[in-house]
Symmetry: C2
Subunit: 118 residues, 2 copies
DNA sequence: CCGGATCCCTTGCGATACTG
DNA sequence: CAGTATCGCAAGGGATCCGG
């Protein structure tokens, strides 16, 4: 966990790795969407729309598509009437749980640090 | 690490925590700046400017100020000629190392998953 | 060297309405 | 219900110049 100086080459790989991660998680909504799906394991479009306060259906649709392209979520059309669509994390998507969890913990710590109470 | 359904109240606190963390780490550059400072422990303005490829001095200045307000970094003016300014993580800022580290690991994993090689 | 001020442009995102 | 299409705005951010 220490950040001591290392060889330049490793450093570049690290930077690239952070960059790769950021590319996927960018935008205003991705983390919240993943967090929502992750919390319930499976979640329908309209449910996510409610979970993620403030998002529009256009944005949700766009973000979900990007997440799917990056193989983080799996999209399943259920043959109900009317049709519903279910989203769930892929195995690869599940590896994000650690990050979400860290982020949550850190957010709580930060709130105490800055605001002074939880 | 599992994401099983929990009581609504905990869920709301979780969401708020993620939100708090995102507020601080938002924008295009924060993570990279922190990553740069973290890697070297102490880092001068112009050095960070080089580390973070593509950032303008205006942006760097703005982002550093925000990070300082959130008590993640400490700013020190060195009385050299001309003046240089040094930035380092505060104790609180150092708690972000876990997240950066996880993000790095995940980025590498993701690259293998999507591109297929590192 | 640090970083503020100005100008300007791009694009992310919201609102709304519409289709299968 | 899930998703698409169109319009339009405002914030974010780049380029450049300036001052301490």
């Amino acid at each position: 966990m220490e950040c001591k100086p290392e060889f330049q080459d490793d450093r570049k790989k690290e930077m690239r790795a952070v960059h790769d991660a950021m590319d996927v998680l960018n935008g205003k909504w991705k983390i919240y969407i993943i967090s929502s799906i992750c919390h319930y394991n499976k979640r329908r479009f309209s449910d996510i729309l409610e979970d993620v306060v403030g998002i529009s259906n256009k944005m949700l649709s766009k973000e979900l598509k990007e997440l799917e392209i990056n193989k983080l979520i799996k999209r399943t059309v259920l043959e109900t009437q009317p049709i519903t669509v279910q989203y769930e994390l892929t195995e690869h998507g599940k590896t994000l749980k650690t990050i979400i969890s860290n982020l949550t913990d850190w957010g709580m710590k930060h709130r105490k640090e800055i605001i002074g109470k939880d």
